[in-house]
C-alpha cells in the first residue's frame, strides 16, 4: 500500500507541472498587449507615446514563451498569482480567504449526498421494480432534471420567504458582529467548528440555519447521481454467484445485503464520490450566488464574467490541485476497499 501511495505522490508534481503548462499557455495566448492591462492600473499610463512598447519591455512580456513560463512559475511558487480585481487583493489571498467558506459548504454537502444517496440506492436496488423502487427513482429523476438555480430559488421561496426558517447569507448580522468585535477567535476558519471551540452555540445554530437551504439545494441534485450508481451496482452484485451461494446457505436477506452486496457495490460509488467533491465545488457557484454566501464559487464566477484573468487562472489552478489530491485519495480508498487494486 505504501509503495502505491508513494508512486502516486511521485506522479503528483508531474501532473501539476502539466496543469501549470496548460494554464500558462492560456495566459500566453492572450498576447503581450492584453497582458499589460493586468499590470497597469492607471489608464493615463497608456496615453503617452510608445507607452505600450515601453511597458511590454518593462514587464518582459515580449520574451520567449519558455522564459516567460519559468518566470511565471517562479512567481507562482513564491505565492504571487497576480492581483485580483474581484477580490481587491492578491489572487492567492482572495482564494485563501474564501476557501474555508466553500470547503465548509461542499464538505457538509458531501455527507448527505453520499449517505442519503447510498441509502436510497440500496433500498431501490434491493426492491427492484417494486413501488418503493419506482418512487425513489422518480424522486431522483426530478432532482437530476431540475436546474440548480431553479431548485435553489424554490428552496429560498419555500424555506425562507414562506416558512422563514432558513435565511440566506452566511450568518445573521448579530453573529457577524460577535465575530468582528469578539469575543471570538478564528481557529479552523470553519464557522461551525469555530463556534463550538468558542463555546458559542448560538452562532453554531445560526450557521446551521444558514447552511441548511444551500445544503439541501446542493444535495438533492446529487442524490440522484449517487442513487443511480448505487442501485445499478447493487443490481449487478446481486446477480453474482457468491450472493446466490450466500442465500443458498440460508443467510438472511439483511445479512446478504449488508455483508456481501453492499461492500462490493460501493466500489464504484467510492470512485465517483471523490470526484464529486470537485463537482460540489462547481455547484457552489450557483448556490453561493442565490443564497448570497461568500465563497470561491461565487468568486470564480464573478472573475469569469468580468474577465479577471489572474483570478480565473488562480482559481483554475486551485481547482486542479483539489482534483488531483482528491483523485489520489479516491485511488487510495479504492485500494483499501478492493485489495486487488494494490496487488496489481
Amino acid at each position: 500500500m505504501l509503495a502505491f501511495i508513494v508512486r502516486r505522490l511521485l506522479i503528483l508534481p508531474i501532473i501539476l507541472i502539466g496543469v501549470t503548462l496548460l494554464i500558462f499557455s492560456m495566459i500566453w495566448m492572450l498576447g503581450p498587449e492584453r497582458l499589460i492591462g493586468t499590470y497597469v492600473k492607471s489608464p493615463e499610463a497608456l496615453k503617452s507615446e510608445k507607452a505600450v512598447e515601453r511597458l511590454i519591455q518593462k514587464y518582459g512580456l515580449d520574451r520567449p514563451a519558455p522564459e516567460m513560463y519559468v518566470k511565471w512559475l517562479g512567481n507562482v511558487l513564491k505565492g504571487d498569482f497576480g492581483y485580483s480585481n474581484v477580490g481587491r487583493q492578491g489572487v492567492l489571498q482572495s482564494i485563501m480567504e474564501l476557501i474555508p467558506y466553500t470547503f465548509e459548504l461542499a464538505l457538509y454537502a458531501l455527507i448527505p449526498v453520499v449517505f442519503v444517496g447510498i441509502w436510497l440506492g440500496v433500498i431501490a436496488g434491493s426492491h427492484q421494480d417494486k413501488p418503493l423502487d419506482h418512487g425513489i427513482r422518480i424522486f431522483a429523476i426530478i432532482g437530476w432534471s431540475l436546474p440548480d438555480y431553479v431548485f435553489g430559488l424554490l428552496v429560498l421561496l419555500v424555506f425562507y420567504s414562506y416558512l422563514k426558517w432558513f435565511p440566506p447569507g452566511f450568518l445573521s448580522d448579530a453573529s457577524m458582529k460577535v465575530m468582528r468585535e469578539g469575543p471570538w477567535k478564528d481557529i479552523t476558519h470553519f464557522v461551525t467548528i469555530d463556534a463550538i471551540l468558542n463555546w458559542r452555540f448560538d452562532i453554531l445554530w445560526d450557521a446551521i440555519r444558514h447552511l441548511i437551504a444551500p445544503l439541501l439545494t446542493l444535495s438533492y441534485l446529487w442524490w440522484a447521481y449517487i442513487l443511480r450508481i448505487t442501485r445499478s451496482s447493487m443490481l449487478e452484485v446481486l446477480r453474482k454467484d457468491y450472493v446466490r451461494t450466500a442465500r443458498a446457505k440460508g443467510l438472511s436477506e439483511k445479512v446478504v445485503i449488508n455483508k456481501h452486496v453492499k461492500r462490493n457495490a460501493l466500489i464504484p460509488v467510492a470512485t465517483v464520490s471523490g470526484g464529486m467533491i470537485v463537482q460540489l465545488f462547481a455547484g457552489t457557484v450557483i448556490v453561493e450566488t442565490i443564497f448570497a454566501r461568500p465563497g470561491l464559487g461565487r468568486f470564480t464566477a464573478t472573475a469569469a464574467v468580468t474577465l479577471d484573468y489572474f483570478s480565473v487562472i488562480g482559481a483554475a489552478l486551485f481547482f486542479s490541485l483539489i482534483l488531483i489530491v482528491t483523485n489520489l485519495i479516491v485511488d487510495i480508498s479504492y485500494a483499501l476497499i478492493d485489495p486487488r487494486i494494490r496487488l496489481s
Binding site: 492591462g37 435565511p167 440566506p168 448570497a292 464574467v305
Partner: protein, 615 residues
C-alpha cells in the same frame, strides 16, 4: 363549538400576523442592493454605491435644505452669497466661516486647516477615477480638468515627462517645477485666515457651491491629522506627486474613514460583501436615530426580495421591471414616480483601446469590430434606430421612465421638449448599416460586445433587445451581451476598453453643464472615454459652446447656446439617451423618514439615513 373554534383561529391568525409585522431589530437598518462600493476615499469615488456610504461617514461645508436645492450651512456656519459679503470679486472669492467644536471620528477637532488640507489633497491626488475633476474645473474657472493639465500649462512640460513610472521627478528641473507648482498655483487657491477658509477661484464658475455641497462625496471634509498619520500626503510641496493619481486601493482612505459624519465605519467586509456603519455619538448635530447601518451587496433579485419580505432587509433595490411585485404585501411601502436627475444612455466608444478584449478580432471580418468602429456616423445611426425605446419604457421599466432628446434630464436649463427623439425604425437602421464603412459592414458583418453592469436587469434586457433587433437586420450581424461586475465595469469604461455599453449619469449638481460637460466635452467624464477621434470632433464643435455657456450669466443666452449644442449632437447621432428614469422606493413600512432628493446618491430609493428610524 364551531363558532368558538373559528374565533380562536382568527385570534391566532391575528397574533401570528402581528408578530410578523413587528419591527425587526429596531436599532439596525439593512439596505440590500447589487452595487458594491468601488472605494471609500471621497477623492477617488464617483459612483452611486460608494457615494451612498460616504454620505454617512463625511460632512461637507454646506448642505441642501430638505428636498430642495436651496443651501444651508453645515461645517461652514454660513453660505457664501454676495449679500452676506462672503462671495466677492465677481464670484471669484468664496469665504466659509468654519464651525467650532466639531469632532472627527478619530477624536480630533475640526479646524479650518482641515478644510485647506482636504481641498489641496483632493486637487493634488486628482485620482483619474474620481470626481475631483469637477472641483478642478470649477476652481480653474473651467480652464482645466486635471491637475496634470494645469501643471503642464504652468511648467511648460507634460506631467508624464516630469514624473516617471516610479513616481520620481525625471530631473532636478522637473522637481523644481513640481514644487513651484504647489507653492505658486495650488497653495494660493485655498487659504485660511483666522476662522475662515477662503477659496480664490481663477475665474468665476457659477455652479461651484453645487459641486461641493453635501451629497457630493468629493466635497467631503477629511481629518488631516488622521490622513498624515496614516501615510497620506504629508502636506509638503516637496513630494506631492507621490500621492498623485494613485489607484483607489493605494489610498489609506480606501477602506477607512476619516470623517465627522453621523456614522463611522465599522467594517467594509469584502468577503461577505457588506459595509457596516455604527452611529457616531459625538456627531455635532446630535446622534443619529438608528444605531447601525448595514449595506449589503446581494446580486440576485429574488434573494433581495425574500430578504425584504422576511424583514431581514429594511429596504432593497428593486428594478422598475419588478415595480408591481409588492402591491399585495401590506408590510411593504412602494413610492414611485418621483423625479430623478438622471439619464440612462447607450455609449459607443469611438476609439476603443487596441488591447481591449471586447473587440474580438479587431477587424471588420465578421468576428469582431475595428477599434474605431463607431467613428462612422452610419454605425451610430444603425444602432440608435434599432432600439425600441417605447418598449423599454413601457415593458422594462414599467412606465417609470421618460424619453428625452439628448442626455439632459427634463427640468434642467436648456431642456427642450420640442427637439426630436430618435425613431425606432428598422428601415432607417438598415439603410444606415448598408452605408456604414462604405458597405463593408453590410458585406462582412461584425461581432459586437454590448456590455452592462451585472445585476442590472433593465440594462441587461436592453442589451438583449438591441441584440435581437440588430441581428434581425442582417444575419451576419452578431451582438454578444456581456454583464460585468460594477467595479470592473467602471474600470473597463474608464480605460476605454468597451465598444458599446449602457450606463447612466446621476447629476452631481443641478445644472445642465454637469450633463453636457460630462457627456460631450472632450475632457468630460464620459466624453474623454470615447477616444481620440471623438475628442478631435468635440474640441472643434462641442467644447467651445460648452466652455462659454458655463460662464454665461444671461440665462436666455445660455439656453440659446445649449439649443445650438443639442442640434449638433442630434444631427451627428452623438446624443444617445435611452430614457430618463423615475424613482422607485421599496422598503418595509416600519422604516420611517424617507424623502427623495435629486442629488443624493440613491436618493430616490434610500432615505437620508441620519434622519431615518424604524417603528
Amino acid at each position: 363549538m364551531q363558532k368558538k373554534l373559528f374565533v380562536l383561529f382568527i385570534c391566532l391568525l391575528a397574533l401570528t400576523l402581528s408578530a410578523f409585522a413587528a419591527v425587526k431589530d429596531p436599532d439596525t437598518i439593512v439596505n440590500a442592493e447589487y452595487g458594491a462600493p468601488e472605494t471609500l476615499d471621497p477623492h477617488a469615488e464617483w459612483d452611486n454605491a460608494s457615494g451612498a456610504v460616504i454620505n454617512n461617514l463625511y460632512d461637507n461645508l454646506i448642505k441642501y435644505v430638505g428636498e430642495t436645492i436651496e443651501f444651508e450651512p453645515m461645517l461652514s456656519t454660513a453660505v457664501p452669497t454676495p449679500e452676506n459679503g462672503l462671495l466677492k470679486d465677481n464670484g471669484k472669492t468664496y469665504i466659509f466661516p468654519i464651525r467650532k467644536g466639531v469632532k472627527f471620528h478619530s477624536g480630533n477637532i475640526l479646524t479650518p486647516k482641515d478644510i485647506e488640507y482636504t481641498f489641496e489633497r483632493g486637487f493634488l491626488a486628482d485620482n483619474s477615477s474620481g470626481a475631483v475633476t469637477l472641483i478642478i474645473e470649477a476652481v480653474s474657472g473651467g480652464e482645466f480638468y486635471t491637475v496634470a493639465d494645469w501643471f503642464e500649462a504652468y511648467a511648460g512640460m507634460a506631467y508624464s515627462d516630469a514624473v516617471n513610472d516610479d513616481r520620481e521627478p525625471t530631473s532636478a528641473e522637473a522637481k523644481a517645477k513640481l514644487i513651484g507648482f504647489y507653492n505658486e498655483v495650488i497653495d494660493p487657491l485655498f487659504v485660511v485666515e483666522g476662522d475662515n477658509f477662503i477659496v480664490n477661484m481663477k475665474d468665476a464658475f457659477a455652479p461651484f457651491l453645487f459641486i461641493i455641497v453635501k451629497y457630493a462625496g468629493w466635497g467631503s471634509i477629511i481629518d488631516s491629522q488622521w490622513c498624515m498619520a496614516n501615510g497620506e500626503w504629508d502636506w509638503k510641496a516637496d513630494g506631492w506627486w507621490k500621492w498623485h493619481d494613485r489607484t483607489p486601493e493605494e489610498s489609506a482612505l480606501h477602506m477607512a474613514d476619516a470623517g465627522c459624519g453621523p456614522y463611522k465605519l465599522a467594517v467594509w467586509d469584502q468577503t461577505n460583501n457588506m459595509v457596516v456603519m455604527e452611529r457616531f455619538d459625538d456627531y455635532w448635530q446630535g446622534p443619529a436615530k438608528t444605531k447601525t447601518l448595514i449595506f449589503k451587496t446581494v446580486e440576485e433579485y429574488s434573494t433581495r426580495k425574500a430578504m425584504l419580505e422576511a424583514g431581514d432587509a429594511d429596504l432593497v433595490l428593486v428594478d422598475p421591471i419588478y415595480r408591481y411585485d409588492f402591491d399585495n404585501n401590506p408590510d411593504i411601502e412602494v413610492i414611485s414616480g418621483h423625479p430623478r436627475a438622471q439619464v440612462t444612455s447607450i455609449h459607443m466608444g469611438w476609439k476603443v483601446q487596441e488591447t481591449s478584449e471586447y473587440i474580438g478580432s479587431g477587424k471588420l471580418d465578421g468576428n469582431g469590430i475595428p477599434a474605431d468602429f463607431f467613428t462612422d456616423i452610419n454605425v451610430r445611426a444603425g444602432i440608435l434606430h434599432a432600439f425600441n425605446y417605447d418598449a423599454l419604457i413601457d415593458d422594462l421599466v414599467n412606465g417609470l421612465g421618460k424619453r428625452v432628446p439628448t442626455d439632459l434630464p427634463e427640468g434642467f436649463l436648456g431642456f427642450d421638449p420640442t427637439l426630436p427623439v430618435y425613431e425606432f425604425d428598422l428601415g432607417k437602421a438598415e439603410k444606415a448599416w448598408k452605408a456604414a464603412w462604405g458597405g463593408e459592414v453590410w458585406e462582412n458583418g461584425f461581432k459586437l460586445v454590448a456590455m452592462y453592469n451585472a445585476g442590472n436587469e433593465v440594462r441587461q434586457t436592453a442589451c438583449e433587445m438591441l441584440k435581437v433587433y440588430v441581428e434581425s437586420i442582417n444575419p451576419k450581424f452578431q451582438v454578444e451581451v456581456l454583464g460585468v461586475q460594477w467595479p470592473t465595469y467602471l474600470k473597463a469604461t474608464r480605460e476605454e476598453l468597451c465598444p458599446l455599453y449602457i450606463i447612466g449619469w446621476v447629476a452631481d449638481y443641478p445644472d445642465a453643464h454637469n450633463f453636457f460637460s460630462t457627456y460631450y466635452h472632450s475632457n468630460g467624464y464620459y466624453g474623454k472615454r470615447h477616444g481620440g477621434e471623438y475628442n478631435d470632433f468635440a474640441k472643434e464643435y462641442l467644447d467651445p459652446i460648452i466652455d462659454v455657456a458655463v460662464k454665461e450669466t444671461d440665462v436666455n443666452k445660455r439656453i440659446e447656446m445649449y439649443a445650438e449644442l443639442q442640434k449638433i449632437l442630434l444631427e451627428n447621432y452623438i446624443a444617445t439617451p435611452l430614457y430618463m428614469p423615475q424613482g422607485l422606493y421599496v422598503a418595509r413600512k416600519w422604516l420611517k423618514g424617507f424623502f427623495p432628493h435629486l442629488l443624493r446618491s440613491s436618493g430616490d430609493r434610500t432615505p437620508e439615513f441620519y434622519y431615518a428610524w424604524k417603528e
